[in-house]
């Protein structure tokens, strides 16, 4: 493990340098189309990147024909640029057209030079499969490749459109309920594993359970298992309640305060861990603070399901994912707790050291979240 991170660091550094010094590649003409959709795809946006070299030819963007394309010329030609995009890019849902409007123009650099970036709002019908057809650049460049990526709330597809295959159609399997459900489950697992704050809180709850004081007379594995089970169940019940309430709009709190409150729960629980007796109240803490964490899950869920028509399916899937992710962490931690049951070193040092570290982290989160 120790060798991995330095290596990763070197690689990350080298990426930074590659990004700076990339040579202009001489490859075929390329454009990029990225569609970002919400779970029901009613409101989304489309980003189209077109090479200025191609645009000089296709739209005549070098208005004064001096061979130098300036930002002013791009702005001046933006109406024709936008109409070139909207007339050559057709997006449909359920065989009915999506409306593209509210364009903004900017510039980006890809490996083969500068590109004009057109970002449009996209409004689509609510039902059916998505389809994209692009005629962009194929009239002037028969070898042109258009790299299409369609980014859904929990999935991404990447396709290359060419002059001979200009159409991409969403497959029915992609949009089916079952696969949508699975994607929400994955998203839930992902959220608990990458949202370190929930993981940190869970650790704070579980670590002291192997302390002698936390357990009744015997130190059997059954006792530890029971203690873990109680705490995890309390946490799960609590966050499920608030997650459901928030998902159905019964509770609505600004996410800044929710996020800050989550940091507070970590700090408090961390400090409480310095006192051995507090482990007796593990279940109550898990439940009480679990209510707050549920609101945090809700805002993560809301991010990936904005404007969704169905709420139950994402909610159940996401929550199931959260539980699976949480159980995996518990399963990984349990043997450690079991082996250290009642150990003095564990009681005096390990729990305190871990709690101290996590509390510090919680403090940092708190400051960051309140200040932002």
């Amino acid at each position: 493990m120790s060798g991995f991170f330095p290596k990763l660091f070197v690689i990350l550094l080298s990426i930074v340098f590659i990004g700076v010094g990339t040579a202009a590649a001489h490859s075929v003409g390329t454009s990029y189309v990225r569609i970002e959709q919400s779970s029901d795809a009613t409101i989304s946006n489309v980003r189209v990147d077109l090479s200025l070299r191609d645009l000089a030819f296709a739209v005549g963007i070098d208005a004064n024909r001096d061979g130098r394309i300036t930002w002013g010329e791009v702005l001046q030609q933006s109406p024709s640029l936008v109409s070139y995009v909207t007339s050559n890019l057709t997006i449909t849902r359920g065989e009915r057209h999506c409306v593209l409007d509210a364009p903004t123009i900017s510039i980006d650099r890809h490996s083969d030079g500068p590109y004009a970036v057109v970002i449009l709002n996209m409004k689509c019908p609510t039902e059916g499969l998505l389809a994209v057809r692009s005629n962009m650049m194929f009239d002037i460049d028969a070898g042109h490749r258009s790299l299409l990526s369609v980014v859904g709330p929990v999935s991404q597809t990447l396709t290359v459109l060419t002059i001979d295959s200009r159409i991409w159609k969403q497959s029915a399997a992609d949009s089916g309920r079952w696969s949508a459900f699975l994607r929400f489950v994955v998203q839930g697992v992902w959220h608990i594993w990458t949202g370190f704050d929930h993981l940190a809180f869970l650790l704070l709850l579980l670590l002291p359970l192997a302390r002698p004081g936390a357990l009744s007379a015997s130190r059997s594995s059954g006792n530890i298992a029971r203690a873990v089970f109680r705490v995890v169940t309390a946490f799960t019940a609590a966050h499920s309640i608030t997650l459901a309430c928030a998902a159905f709009d019964y509770i609505h709190l600004p996410s800044k305060w929710v996020e800050s409150a989550i940091a507070v729960t970590i700090v408090i629980t961390g400090i409480a861990n310095f006192y051995e007796r507090t482990a007796r109240f593990g279940m109550a803490v898990a439940f009480g603070f679990g209510l707050i964490h549920g609101l945090g899950f809700a805002s993560a869920l809301a991010d990936i399901t904005s404007n969704a028509t169905h709420r139950l399916l994402p909610l159940v899937g996401f929550n199931l994912g959260v539980e699976i992710g949480q159980l995996a962490v518990v399963a990984a931690l349990f043997p450690i707790l079991f082996l250290n049951r009642g150990s003095d070193v564990w009681r005096r040092h390990a729990v305190t050291a871990c709690s101290l570290a996590i509390t510090a982290l919680g403090m940092a989160w708190l400051i960051q979240r309140v200040a932002s």
Binding site: F57, I69, D108, R145
Partner: protein
């Protein structure tokens, strides 16, 4: 300890490449920006590109209606020339688009069909290019350009006997210089290397005819390739330097010379030879190979990036080059062998045989080596560089 090193390197490299590829894909969607001043110059088109673009804009309307095949021919030719001189694939796509209204039509005029074949050949669609040229020659047997193109293609596919016939027809068609080079090249691949080399050297002793620079550059390149098969690396360098002097934008000779220099370990010379060369995959490959002698990883990263970009776009143009990169840069002999085999299915020049032999030896595939030896003997191909 020593023996485990290459494998470690390869693993680390593979991991690095995977991570880099991931980040590059992500970086393709970097945050766009709005320049602060309208006067900020975002792109400068060079003169030739600018002329081609503005000329074609006027001609395109006429061409699209198929009313004026000449208009289409002028645009397409201009873009093909631009693509060749700048080694930019994009312009071949532009040329093809100018001919698009005529694609898959039986009444396509001969001049346009030749241009279509030229583009197809450049894009390594050899079978298609051959079919188009067969069609052109069936309609116009006296078309010298079509004959020469077909001969070159047949040589590319390892059929010098067929090529020789077209070369000989060129003699009748008053294209004596091209015919001589063509005949010498085809015979050299078919058991008469030494005699052909003498013939070509004698022909090239005459001073270069003005206005024929591109033909002479081509001939010098052919002579260089023969000298290479004869194992005379000094002569190769002399021929190739002559070709480069005549046509400084001709990348093929430059790349060939790089390979000679690389074999001698003259990495610094390679770097300076490619200094202002366009960043195409073959150029990046040689820069990376040169870099193995010097210290550094920048060129390797560039080549890797270009390679993953092509993979992402589904472009498989330079299979021979790819096989070489996989063998010599990535140290993946098995993969290199597979690529060289795929390349061999479409292209059979001596250089293609060499990379196939090299990779087959690296993976210990005796059957392939035996088949190659048989192919070489049947063709009576002489090539000092083909070690079987």
């Amino acid at each position: 300890m020593r023996s485990s090193r290459p494998q470690n390197d390869a693993t680390r490299l593979r991991f690095g490449v995977a991570v880099i590829a991931f980040f590059l894909t992500a970086a393709a969607w970097a945050t766009p920006y709005r320049p602060s001043s309208p006067d900020e110059v975002l792109l400068e088109l060079d003169g030739a590109a600018q002329r081609a673009v503005s000329n074609s804009a006027a001609l395109r309307t006429a061409a699209a209606s198929r009313a004026d095949p000449n208009a289409s021919a002028i645009i397409a030719q201009e873009f093909i020339d631009l693509g060749r001189s700048q080694n930019d694939e994009r312009y071949f796509g532009y040329a093809a688009a100018a001919l698009q209204p005529w694609s898959a039509r039986r009444d396509v005029p001969v001049q346009l069909a030749i241009l279509q074949a030229d583009i197809a050949q450049h894009q390594h669609r050899f079978t298609e290019a051959l079919r188009m040229l067969d069609d052109v020659i069936a309609r116009d047997g006296k078309n010298a350009r079509a004959r020469l193109m077909r001969a070159t293609l047949q040589m590319t596919q390892g059929q010098p006997q067929l090529a020789l016939r077209d070369c000989q027809r060129l003699l009748v068609l008053q294209a004596s210089f091209a015919a001589t080079v063509c005949i010498a090249q085809a015979s050299s691949l078919n058991g008469k290397l030494a005699a052909s080399y003498r013939l070509l050297s004698d022909t090239l002793r005459q001073p270069v005819v003005a206005g024929n620079a591109d033909q002479y550059a081509w001939a010098f390149g052919v002579a260089g390739e023969m000298a290479e098969r004869l194992g005379d690396s000094e002569a190769v360098e002399i021929w190739l330097r002559k070709a480069i002097e005549l046509m400084p934008t001709d990348l093929v000779s430059r790349l060939q010379l790089c390979d000679v220099l690389l074999r001698r370990g003259q990495a610094q010379a390679v770097a300076s030879l490619l200094e202002d060369a366009p960043a195409s995959e073959p150029v990046l490959l040689r820069r990376a190979l040169a870099e193995q002698y010097l210290a550094g990883t920048k060129a390797l990263d560039d080549w890797n990036e270009a390679k993953s970009r092509s993979e992402q776009l589904g472009i498989r143009l330079h299979l021979r080059e790819l096989a070489r990169g996989q063998l010599e840069l990535l140290h993946q002999p098995q993969r290199a062998f597979e690529t060289a085999r795929q390349n061999w299915a479409v292209q059979r020049e001596p250089a293609d045989a060499r990379i196939l032999a090299l990779t087959a030896r690296a993976v210990g595939n005796r059957e392939t080596l035996r088949q190659l030896a048989q192919w070489r003997d049947e063709l009576r191909l002489e090539d000092a560089g083909l070690v079987l």
